[in-house]
C-alpha cells in the first residue's frame, strides 16, 4: 500500500492543478483587461469643431485614445466604451466591438462633440473625463472606470503647442498648433459679415475681387480693410500671453480677441488684426493667408498663384507713433513678404504661413458665434467714422454703453452745414477772437467732446485745411488729416495731448465750412457713440 501512496499523491496533485487551472482564471474580470490612456492636456473651445472631427488634420486633435487589451482566456462580447465630461458632455458611446478575442487589442480614439455654447466660455477651468468600459455579462465589479483631468481654456485662449515638453526639439514643435489659428478666423460670424458688407459698400464703394479674380481688385480690397481700420482709429494694442503648463505640456497661451471683438473694441494685436483681415477676405471670397515670422504675424491673400501681404499694424495709434497710409502699409507688407519667401525657401522653420481656406478643407473650421445686436450697433458707430453717408444711428435710449443722448435742437450757423446739438451742450459763438475762422464751438457738459465750426475763405479744400493748420501751428498745435469726399478724419497734436476728430466739409458762398467733432484720444473710444451721433446729424 505504501508503494501506491506516491503515485496516488501525484495523481491527486495533478487533478487539483488541472481543476485549479479551470477555476483559477475567471473569464473577463476587470483584472484581465489592460488599459492604456493617452490624453490631451488642453482643449481650446475655439477649436471645438476640430476636436469633434476624426478627419480634421488626420485626427490629430483627440481628447484621448484608449488601448484596451483582453488578457483573459475568454472572448468578450459586445465590448462597449463610453465617456462623459460632467457639465459638458453626457455619457456618450464611443464604440461597440462585437467580440474581443483573448489577447486582442482595441484602440479607441475619442473626438468629443461639445455644444456650440462652449464658445461662450470666458474662463479657464480644469475638467474631468470619465471613461467606462463594459461588456456582455460583466458584473458590477468588473465594469472598468477610468478618469483623467485636462485644462479647458477660455474661448479666446490659443495654445501654441500640444506636444509634450520632453518631445519638443524644434521651433516648429513650439508652434505645432499653427493651423488652429484658422478657428479664430470667423467669416461666418454675423457681426463680421455685417462689418464686411459695410466695408464693401462704404469704403470700397463696391468691389468684385472674389469674382473677377483680378489681383489688382484684391489688393484694393486688402487696402480697403486697412483704410477702414485706420479711419475708425483702430489702434494696435497687446493682450496677455503667458506660459502655462500641465503635467506633460508646457506652452505659451495667448489671449486672442475674436475678429468681432477687434472690430467693436477698435483695437488689435498683430495676430488679431490678421484674423480680422482673414475673416473679411474670406467673406469676400478671397483666399486669406496669415504669415508667421519670428515674433510677428501679418495678413495677406493668394490669388492666381501669387501672394500679397499688408502690414496691418501700420495703424499703430497716436500713442505709438506714426500712422501709415494704406499704400505704405501695403508696401511694407510686400517687402516683408519678399523677406518671408527668401527665408522660407532657405528652409527656415520660423517662416511659415497658414492658408486659411486650405486648412478649412482639412477640417479646421471656425467656431460658431451668434448674432449680437449690441455689436452690430457698435459696427454702425464705426462705419459712421468711415465716410459721409454712413448708416443712420438709431437713437439708443438704453443707459449702458456709450450713453447716447437723443439730439434735441439743431444748430444752424449759416446756409451750409448744420448739425443737431445734444441736450445740455453749451454753444459758444466766436469763442477765440484770435482765430477768426472758428465760427462756433459746442462743448459737451463734461468738456470732453467738442464740435467746432470753421469758415475758411477759400474755394480749395486743400488750402482750407492748410489755413486751418497754420492757425493751429501758431498756437503750438499740429494737425494731420485724411479726406474721403467731403468727409474728414484727423488728429490734432498739442502740448496738452492729442485730439481725435471726424468731420465734414462743404463749399459755401465765400469759402468752405468745416464741422468737426472729436475728443481727446484717451476718451475717443468711450465717447465714440455721441461723436458718431453728432457726425451723422451733420447736414
Amino acid at each position: 500500500m505504501k508503494k501506491l501512496a506516491i503515485p496516488l499523491a501525484l495523481c491527486t496533485l495533478g487533478l487539483i492543478l488541472t481543476a485549479l487551472s479551470f477555476f483559477g482564471s475567471k473569464a473577463g474580470s476587470a483584472d484581465d483587461i489592460d488599459i492604456t490612456i493617452d490624453k490631451t492636456s488642453f482643449i481650446m473651445p475655439a477649436a471645438h469643431r476640430v476636436y469633434s472631427n476624426p478627419d480634421a488634420l488626420d485626427g490629430k486633435y483627440y481628447l484621448f485614445k484608449a488601448k484596451i487589451t483582453n488578457n483573459s482566456s475568454e472572448t468578450l462580447e459586445d465590448v462597449t466604451v463610453k465617456y462623459r465630461i460632467p457639465n459638458y458632455i453626457d455619457w456618450t458611446e464611443l464604440t461597440v466591438s462585437g467580440e474581443m478575442f483573448p489577447g486582442q487589442t482595441l484602440v479607441v480614439p475619442c473626438y468629443p462633440k461639445f455644444n456650440n455654447d462652449i464658445t461662450e466660455k470666458t474662463t479657464e477651468s480644469v475638467e474631468k473625463t470619465e471613461i467606462e468600459i463594459s461588456w456582455d455579462g460583466a458584473e458590477e465589479d468588473d465594469i472598468i472606470e477610468e478618469d483623467f483631468t485636462f485644462k479647458l481654456t477660455n474661448r479666446n485662449e490659443y495654445v501654441y503647442t500640444g506636444i509634450k515638453s520632453e518631445e519638443i526639439s524644434s521651433y516648429a514643435d513650439i508652434y505645432d498648433n499653427d493651423a488652429l489659428i484658422a478657428c479664430f478666423v470667423t467669416p461666418n460670424d454675423p457681426v463680421v459679415k455685417y462689418y464686411a458688407q459695410n466695408l464693401q459698400e462704404k469704403v470700397l464703394k463696391g468691389e468684385a475681387a472674389g469674382i473677377s479674380r483680378n489681383e489688382k481688385d484684391a489688393v484694393r480690397f486688402l487696402m480697403g480693410i486697412y483704410e477702414a481700420t485706420r479711419l475708425s482709429h483702430m489702434v494696435y494694442s497687446s493682450t496677455k500671453g503667458v506660459p502655462k503648463s500641465t503635467d506633460d505640456v508646457a506652452s505659451l497661451v495667448q489671449q486672442v480677441r475674436l475678429p468681432r471683438e477687434v472690430i467693436t473694441g477698435n483695437t488689435g494685436l498683430c495676430i488679431e488684426l490678421s484674423t480680422l483681415y482673414a475673416s473679411v477676405l474670406s467673406t469676400a471670397g478671397i483666399d486669406p493667408i496669415i504669415f508667421f515670422v519670428p515674433g510677428h504675424a501679418y495678413p495677406g491673400f493668394r490669388m492666381n498663384g501669387q501672394y500679397y501681404a499688408i502690414e496691418a499694424t501700420g495703424i499703430n495709434g497716436e500713442g505709438l507713433g506714426g500712422i501709415a497710409s494704406a499704400e505704405d502699409a501695403f508696401k511694407t507688407g510686400q517687402k516683408q513678404l519678399q523677406e518671408f519667401m527668401k527665408f522660407a525657401q532657405m528652409g527656415d522653420p520660423r517662416y511659415t504661413f497658414v492658408d486659411i481656406h486650405g486648412v478649412n478643407a482639412l477640417g479646421v473650421t471656425s467656431m460658431d458665434l451668434k448674432d449680437n445686436d449690441f455689436m452690430r450697433k457698435k459696427v454702425d458707430d464705426i462705419v459712421a467714422s468711415w465716410s459721409g453717408g454712413g448708416p443712420q444711428i438709431v437713437p439708443n435710449n438704453n443707459n449702458g454703453g456709450n450713453n447716447i443722448i437723443t439730439p434735441d435742437r439743431p444748430l444752424r450757423t449759416g446756409n451750409a452745414l448744420s448739425f443737431s446739438i445734444p441736450a445740455g451742450w453749451q454753444t459758444m459763438m466766436r469763442p477765440a477772437p484770435q482765430m477768426p475762422i472758428l465760427t462756433a464751438q459746442v462743448v459737451a457738459p463734461d468738456q470732453m467732446t467738442t464740435v467746432s465750426i470753421y469758415d475758411i475763405p477759400t474755394n480749395n479744400m486743400q488750402q482750407a485745411m492748410n489755413t486751418l493748420n497754420q492757425y493751429f501751428m501758431s498756437f503750438g498745435m499740429e494737425m494731420q488729416y485724411q479726406s474721403n469726399g467731403n468727409s474728414l478724419a484727423g488728429q490734432t497734436y498739442s502740448a496738452n495731448g492729442n485730439f481725435n476728430w471726424i468731420g465734414k466739409a462743404l463749399r459755401r458762398q465765400g469759402g468752405i465750412r468745416i464741422v468737426a467733432v472729436g475728443s481727446p484720444d484717451y476718451m475717443y473710444n468711450q465717447n465714440s457713440g455721441i461723436i458718431n451721433q453728432v457726425y451723422n446729424s451733420i447736414r
Binding site: 495533478g14 492543478l17 485549479l20 487551472s21 488626420d58 461597440v96 462585437g98 489577447g103 486582442q104
Partner: protein
C-alpha cells in the same frame, strides 16, 4: 482619421517639397490572428533623396518614430526597428500597430484601406496588392501595399463602408487559448502518477 495605409507617408514628407523624382515605397502589412498589424516598409532612393532623408530621419530615427506616431494619432504603435543600407541607399522600417482591425457589431473582422474604390489585386487567397499615389504628394510618391490577412481568415470579401471607402471583411475563429502551465503540469502529474500506479498494480 487615417488608416494604416497612409502610415508611412510621414516618413517621406519632406520629399514632396524638395525633390521632384518619384519615390517608390513597398509596404507590407501582415495582420495577425488577433487583429494587430506588423508593418514593414522598404524604400530605395536616389542620391539626392537619400541625402535629404538621412538629414531629416535617417540620422535621427527617434524623429522618424515621433513623426509617424504624430501622423497616426488613432493608433498605438511600438517596436520600431530601422535598418539602413547606406551602400544601396535603402532602408527597412518595421513596426507594430495595435488594433489595426477590429470586429464589428455583426461579428465580422474589418480592415479599412482608406481608399475609395481601391484597385486591389489578389495575389493569394489572403494576400492583396494595392498601388497608391497620394495626391498630396503630387505624384512624387508611389506606394505599393501588400496586405496579408491572417491565415485563419475565411469568407474574405471587399466592400465599401459608409464613407465609400474600400474595406476588407472576413470571418475568423478565436485563437486557441494559450499555453496553460498549471493545466499541463496537472495533466503531466496525472499521467506520471497513473503510469506509476499502473506499473505497481501490474507488478503486484
Amino acid at each position: 482619421m487615417k488608416t494604416l495605409t497612409t502610415i508611412i507617408v510621414a516618413s517621406t514628407m519632406l520629399f514632396s517639397i524638395t525633390i521632384n523624382a518619384q519615390l517608390q515605397q513597398k509596404i507590407e502589412m501582415r495582420i495577425d490572428s488577433i487583429g494587430n498589424a506588423k508593418l514593414k516598409i522598404t524604400s530605395t532612393m536616389n542620391a539626392q533623396q537619400w541625402q535629404v532623408w538621412n538629414s531629416n530621419y535617417g540620422n535621427n530615427p527617434s524623429a522618424l518614430k515621433r513623426d509617424i506616431e504624430r501622423n497616426m494619432p488613432a493608433y498605438f504603435l511600438d517596436d520600431f526597428k530601422l535598418e539602413k543600407d547606406d551602400m544601396n541607399r535603402s532602408f527597412n522600417l518595421s513596426l507594430n500597430a495595435y488594433g489595426a482591425c477590429e470586429i464589428n457589431k455583426r461579428g465580422k473582422w474589418v480592415v479599412d484601406t482608406d481608399q475609395k474604390n481601391a484597385q486591389l489585386t489578389e495575389l493569394a487567397e489572403n494576400k492583396y496588392m494595392l498601388v497608391s499615389s497620394p495626391p498630396e504628394y503630387g505624384g512624387n510618391l508611389q506606394q505599393t501595399f501588400i496586405i496579408e490577412l491572417p491565415n485563419d481568415a475565411k469568407n474574405i470579401k471587399t466592400d465599401n463602408n459608409a464613407f465609400g471607402k474600400t474595406v476588407f471583411e472576413f470571418d475568423m475563429d478565436p485563437p486557441s487559448s494559450g499555453f496553460n502551465l498549471m493545466r499541463w503540469a496537472g495533466i503531466l502529474l496525472i499521467v506520471v502518477g497513473g503510469g506509476w500506479l499502473g506499473k505497481d498494480m501490474i507488478k503486484k
